[in-house]
Amino acid sequence: MGGSHGRRLKRWLPELSLAIALVILPFGFDTWLGSVDLFTRILIWGIFGLGFDLLFGRTGLLSFGQGAFYGTGGFVTAYLVTSGRMDNVWLALAAGVAAAALFSVFVGLLALRRVGIYFAMITLAFGELSYFLENSPLSQWTGGENGLPGVPAPSIRIGGFDYSFAGSWPSYQLVAGFYFLGFVFARFVVLSPVGSVLTAIQQNPQRTAALGHDVGAYKLTVFVLAAVFAGCGGALLGIFQSYMPPDAFGLDTSGQLVIQTVIGGAGTLIGPAVGAAIWLTLRDLLQQVPAIGDLWKFILGLVFVLLVTFMPNGVVGKIILVWFRFGRRPQAAIGTERPRDVTAREALLAPLLMGIAPNLPARLALDVRDISKAYGGIQAVDGVSLALPEGRLHAIIGPNGAGKSTFLRLLACEETPDSGEILLHGIDVAAADVTAAYQYGLAKSYQINQLFPQLTMRQNLRIGALGRHRGRLRLDIFRPADGFAKVEHIVAALLEELGLTECADLVVSTLPYGEKRRLELGLALASQPSVLLLDEPLAGLSPVEREGVKQLIRNLRKGRTIILVEHDMDAVFELAERITVLHEGRKLAEGTPNEISGDPLVKQAYLGGMTVP
C-alpha cells in the first residue's frame, strides 16, 4: 500500500493509460492501414458503447434499441446544421444530445416498467419504431432512405486562433477528445455511490429498494445517460462522415452495439471499444480473404456465439479476471480506523432519528391499528393491532398459516394492508413502499439471505448505509463511493459489531453461511433504524452461532424497537419482553413470556389439544 500517492495513481491509472493510447495508437493505424479513420470509427462506437456499458454491463439492463438515441442525436444535429437553422455545430451537437435524452425519458418510462426479456423486447420495438419514423413520416426532415448529406465539422475560434475539425486527423482529434472526456465521466459514475447502487440493482434489485434507494429513478437515470452517450456518438458519426445514414436507427446498429460490447467485455467500460476494434478489423480482414468473402458476417456471428458460450466475460473481462487471479491484495478503504472506544461505537450504531420531527407526540415507536389483508378470498391477517413503545423487544409467534409472514410483510411495507393504519413514530406508513420505510427508519432482516453476492462485505454494508445518508436518489457522480466519512465509520463499526472485520474485503459468495447470515442482519442495521424487524434471524445457524446472534440482538436494543419472528421457542422466551400469538390471522393472546406459556388457548392452538379422540 503506497499511501495516498499510490492510491491517487491507482485511481487515475486507466485514464492515464487511455490518454497515452489515444496519443500513440493513431500513428499505428496511419502507418499500417494508411489512415486513422478506422480508429476514429472504433472510438465513435466506443462512445456509443460507454453509455451502453453503464446500462447493460453495470446495471444489467439489456436494451436492443439504443440505435433510437444514436440516430436521434445524429439526425437532430445533422438537420440543424444542414438546414441552416443553426450555424454553430457545437450547439447543434448539444441540441442533438438533448433531443436523445428527452426521447429516452419517454421510452424509459415505458420500457423500464418491465425487466429482463420484456425489457429487451420493448426496447427493440422502440428502436424499430424510430427507424420507421425516420424513414417515412419524418422523411422531409431526415431525408428518408437517403439520410442527410453535407454535415459540416465544428471549429474552434478564439481570438485569432481558428481550427476546424474537418479532415481525417482533425476528425480523429475531435472524436478522441470526446471519447476521453466520456471515459473520464463514465469512470466517475462507476466509482461514485451512484455506480455502487447500479451494481447493487444488477445483483439484487428488491434488496436495493428495501435499503432505501429509489431503484426506478436510478434505472431511468442510467437509461438517460446511455442515451446521452448514444446521441453524442450519433452526432459525431454524422460529422465524421459528413453524412448521417438512416441505418443508425436500425436493429443492425443496436445489435452490433450489443455484440461488440459482449465481445469486448461488458462492465469494463472500454469493452465496447475493444469489441468494436475486433469486429471492425475482422470484418475488413475477412472480407479480403478470397475463400471467405461474403461469409464474413456469418463467421463473425459464429465467433460471437462461441464467445457468449465459452467466454461470457468478453476479451477484456477475461484479461481482468486473469490479472486479478494473480494476486491483488484486498485494499483497505479510506476511513477504516476502528472506533475502539465502545461508547463511540455505540454512538455510531444508535438509531438515527433523522428526518422524523422530534416533537411529534408519539411515545409509541410503532402503532399498528387493526390491519387486515386478504388474498383471493383467504383472510391472511384479520384486524391485528400492536402498540410498541420505544425500546421494546417484542416477539410474534404462532403456528403455521397463522399469518406471521404476511403481518411482517405489511409492517415492512412490502405490501399494503386492505384496511387499518401503521404509524411509525406517528407517521402513517401503511401505503408507503419499502424505500420510503427505510428512509423513515424501519428496516427488515430477511429469513432467506438477500445479499449482493458479487460484492465484498464492506461494499454490501456500504449500500445499506448510503441509503439512509443520501436519501432515495442522489446523483453525486463526482464523489467516490467511499467518500462519506460518516458512512465509512458506520460500516467499520458494523463490521466490528458483527465480527466480520477479517473478511470485510472478501466477496460474499465465497463466504460460509454463518457470515452471510450476520451480513444479512448488518444490512438491516446499516440504516441505523429505530424499528427493526427480524424474520427468523436464527434460521439455519449452528447452536454456537445462535448464541452469538442472540447476544447481538441483546446488544442492539439500546433505543431501538425490535420485532422478532422466530420458531426457536427457547430463543423467543429468552429474548422477548412481550409476545404476541397469532392464530388464523387474528391475535390470539398477548403478554409476557410467562403469561403466554401458561395460556391454555395458546396450547390449544399449537397442539390441537392434548388428548386424541
Binding site: 403455521n400 396450547k603 397442539l607 392434548m610 386424541v612 379422540p613
Partner: protein
Amino acid sequence: MSMIEIERINTYYGDSHVLFDISMVVHECEVVALLGRNGAGKSTTLKTLAGVLHPRSGTIRFEGQSIELLPSHKIAGLGLQLVPEERRIFGGLTVEENLDLAALSAPAPLPLADIFAIFPRLRERRGSYGRSLSGGEQQMLTIARALIRRPRLILLDEPFEGLAVIIVQNLLEVCRQLVAQGQTIVIVEQNVRAALGLASRAYVLNNGHVVFEGTTEALQASPDVMNRYLGV
C-alpha cells in the same frame, strides 16, 4: 419389512444447514407422523425424500433401492408420492385434467370412478378449473392426484392446514380408510391431535435434529416432550 430407510442425511438450502444427521425408518402398512414446530425441518425432510432436494450426505433406501441422488420424476415413478404443502393445483387445468396428468406416467392408474367414489365432491366439480376450487376441494384434488398413481408410499405435507374443521374430519375419514386398506403413509402435521389420531409411530424434529422417536402412546405419555418441542 422396511419400506424406506433414511440414514444420517444432511440437507442444505444453499449453504444453510437445515437437516442434521436425520435417520428414520418406515415400515410397510405403517403410518408415521413427523412432528415439530415450523422451521424444525419436517417439510425439508419430505422434500428430500421426494427428490426435490438432495442430501449432501447420508443415504435413503426405498424398498431396497438407493434413491438419494435420483431426480424427482424417477422417485415418483418408483412409487414414492409427495403431496406438497401448498397443494400446487394446476389452476389453468380442470379437475379431470389434473387427474389425467397425474395418471399419465403411472403404469396402472386407479380408474377415475374409484377416485370419485372416494371424493364424490370432485365428481361434481370435474369440469371446473383448478383455480376456482375452494381450499378443501383443492386438498381433495391434490390427495386424489397422489392416489390415482397407486403409490407405495404417500408423503402428506400439512394436509389439514387452513381448512375448516368439517373438511378436516372428512379428510381424516378418507385417510383412515386408506390406512385400513394398508396404505403406507408419512404425515407431517402441525395439528398434533389429528396426526396422532392416524399414526402408530412418531418422530419429533427440532431445529433439524430428531429429538424423539417412538410409538404414539409413548409420545402422549411424555408431556414434557410435547410441551418442549411441540407446544409453546
